[in-house]
């Protein structure tokens, strides 16, 4: 092992503390399926987005004041008087949105290619934990500028816990640290907003440990059969991820520099006022599908349960979809339902932004019912009734052997030819 490194200092350290061997093994020679398509870029992009959020967030915390009388003003000071403060804040603000975009694409990729199936169930569940932690972090971060939407969003969301029978009201008082959303709430949200990202880092490490146990799933969904199915992570996927990062940064920069407030709400540039309720209290766009589910149910407790249930159902997904075929490419009926689910979630996002009245409520209920039906009814039934197409024998076979007529195989071939 030690002979792997030429530099004597590296060799000396590695002999005693094998971090260089570890990095070489996990980031350089780490064997990876050779047919990963560009949807597989979003995992590493999510990791980079997390780092961007940590770096800009820590910098912002150096200038921010978590106090109801000063929070709004301190954010404006960052925007106007701190050198490049506007840039750091706009990166952080839009970075949250882009972190969610990347993670949502990452999740839907996992859903389509069956990445949650054995032996990657824990990998998937850790991912769901990361998403939950991200949501909590993003929610509390949005409260910190102490604008109107910060304040009223915090009021609405914390009030959800009052739906818990018997102890609900006490729980809410405990969360607030008082009898309304106030300075104590802002302070604890700041503390937790600073803490949770590091918890996310911890779970991401576990996510990666679980990933590297069996390696990446791939678009064909068949297991790696021989070394010729694989290529080393470096340089193949380091360069592919770097290229993907470049594309991501171009789109991200377009928002940061030219439409930094497009994804935000104008009301959050009005300082929080407990005496003035905004006409429509709308959460950030990435919470809208869940918000739509919450409001679709006429009963408060029921709405809260379904909203959390919509994420909880993802935890048990590996046991709901019992089909032995991973990739949606070989599941003709699953494929159709997958795209209906995508449309359903987009519809929920749209409905969550609309006032809860009239037809919007009606369609929210349909879309909510369909969301749960997809996971609890359609997937279990498909596992039994769907006849999957024939799988390729290995990752290499369809590519070398001319494909044998598999749509997925030719797709993979095109991918590799590029």
């Amino acid at each position: 092992m030690a002979t792997k490194f030429e530099n004597p200092i590296v060799r000396w350290i590695d002999h005693r503390l094998p971090i260089f061997s570890f990095m070489h093994h996990e980031l350089h020679e780490y064997p990876t399926p050779k047919n990963l398509n560009y949807w597989w870029n979003f995992g590493s992009l999510a990791g980079i987005a997390l780092v961007i959020m940590l770096v800009t967030g820590i910098t912002l915390a150096m200038h921010y004041t978590p106090h109801v009388d000063h929070a709004f003003n301190s954010v404006e000071r960052i925007m106007r008087d701190v050198n490049y403060g506007w840039l750091i804040r706009y990166i952080h603000m839009n970075g949250a949105s882009f972190f969610f975009i990347v993670v949502y694409i990452h999740i839907f990729r996992g859903l389509y290619f069956g990445s949650y199936k054995a032996p990657r169930e824990l990998l998937w569940m850790l991912g769901v934990v990361i998403m939950l932690l991200m949501m909590a972090t993003a929610f509390m971060g949005y409260v910190l500028p102490w604008g109107q939407m910060s304040f009223w969003g915090a009021t609405v969301i914390t009030n959800l816990f009052s739906a818990i029978p018997v102890i609900g009201e006490s729980v809410v008082t405990w969360l607030w640290g008082g009898f309304s959303v106030d300075n104590a709430t802002l302070n604890r949200f700041f503390a937790l907003h600073y803490l949770l990202p590091f918890v996310i880092v911890g779970v991401v490490v576990l996510h990666l440990v679980a990933l590297h146990r069996f390696g990446s799933n791939n678009p064909l969904g068949v297991d790696v059969k021989s070394p010729k199915d694989q290529i080393p992570f470096h340089p193949y996927y380091t360069i592919k991820d770097a290229f993907g990062l470049g594309v991501f940064l171009i789109v991200f920069s377009a928002f940061v520099f030219f439409a930094p407030n497009f994804l935000g709400h104008p009301d959050n540039y009005i300082p929080a006022d407990p005496l003035v309720t905004p006409a429509h209290i709308v959460p950030e766009w990435y919470f809208l599908p869940f918000y739509a589910i919450l409001r679709a149910i006429p009963d408060k407790l029921g709405g809260v349960l379904l909203m959390f249930g919509s994420i909880a159902v993802l935890f048990i997904l590996p046991w709901l979809d019992r089909s032995p075929v991973r990739s949606g490419q070989f599941r003709p009926i699953f494929k159709i339902f997958f795209w209906i689910l995508v449309i359903d979630v987009v519809a929920l996002t749209y409905l969550g932004a609309k006032p809860a009245e009239g037809w919007y409520v009606f369609f929210s209920r349909i879309a909510t019912a369909y969301y749960f039906a997809h996971f609890l009814v359609i997937l279990p039934l498909l596992s039994v009734f769907e006849t999957p197409r024939q799988l390729p024998k290995s990752i290499s076979e369809p590519v070398i052997g001319g494909g044998g007529g598999f749509a997925g195989a030719t797709a993979a071939r095109r991918e590799n030819d590029r």
Binding site: K34, N73, E76, M79, R80, W86, L87, Y90, I231, P235, Y236, I239, K240, A242, F243, G246, V247, L249, I250, S253, A254, V256, F257, F258, P260, N261, F262, P266, D267, Y269, I270, A279, K354, P355, E357, G358, W359, V399, I400, N416, R418
Partner: protein, 260 residues
């Protein structure tokens, strides 16, 4: 941006139509639509910059008209150097206002002329005083008004030129005014702009539309004084990233050439 305004207007229309259909839940007062049109601004677009003449005139309108009721507390006099004013001009402009400072060595508060480092002096010491002087209506702070309103500068312009007589059948209570751009159409602020209400130092004819444009430009600057720097940095960043990403793509293709 235009599309966004249209969407908003459409959403409002749909919402109010549904309210109407739902029955008596609609508000009894004239729940008019807020209508305003998208304008061409020197500061919109990728290469947008603030028209310096409009900024100077807008400042003049703010000082002569708005400043008697509306504060601008996040903007400092020193920020006016972006308008092309010299340091002495800014000092003189700031010194027109008095600020409370102290306590001095005797423990007394004292008034002194404002300095370039001071923020724009607010017309009222606090929100309660502002309400008391304005019949209970609070004149909002203007330093973020463009960012804090859907439609931004288009809305501000639309509001300033949007005063008309109420349509047939709509009555407006005393002390309120009809405005086509204001949500609900009833606004407590009297029409602030009049033809030749200010005399521009650069002799631009001071029509209401001209004053509204200049003021909206000034307030857009007040909301985002770093807009020009941001857009310049954006152009450079994206050009750099395009080149970098192109090179990365070429490298990727070369490295992957042997994978089959």
């Amino acid at each position: 941006m235009i599309a966004r305004i249209k969407t908003l207007a459409a959403a409002t229309a749909v919402a109010s139509a549904m309210l109407g259909a739902a029955g008596p839940t609609g508000p009894a007062l004239a729940a008019g639509e807020a209508v305003f049109e998208a304008q061409d601004w020197s500061f919109s677009g990728v290469f947008g910059t603030f028209d310096r003449g409009a900024l100077q005139r807008g400042l003049q309108v703010y000082q002569n008209v708005c400043a008697s009721c509306h504060g601008l507390e996040f903007v400092a006099y020193r920020n006016l150097d972006q308008f092309g004013y010299s340091e002495d001009e800014i000092k003189a402009l700031a010194a027109e206002k008095q600020v409370m400072d102290g306590p001095n060595d005797d423990g007394e508060m004292f008034e002194r002329p404002a300095l370039p480092s001071d923020r724009f002096v607010s017309p009222f010491p606090n929100a309660a005083a502002a309400r008391a002087a304005n019949g209970g209506a609070y004149p909002p702070e203007l330093s973020l008004i463009v960012d804090a309103r859907a439609g931004g500068a288009d809305y501000i312009y639309g509001l300033l030129v949007g005063y008309t007589d109420p349509p047939e059948g709509v009555t407006i209570p005393d002390g309120m005014y009809y405005n086509t751009a204001f949500p609900g159409n009833q606004i407590a602020m009297p029409p602030p702009l009049y033809p030749d209400g200010v005399t521009y130092s650069d002799n631009t004819p001071a029509t209401v539309a001209q004053q509204a444009r200049d003021l909206a430009t000034f307030l857009a600057w007040a909301s985002e004084p770093n807009l020009e720097e941001r857009k310049r940095a954006g152009v450079m960043t994206i050009l750099f990233l395009l080149v970098l990403t192109g090179l990365l793509y070429a490298t990727k293709r070369k490295i992957w050439a042997d994978v089959h």
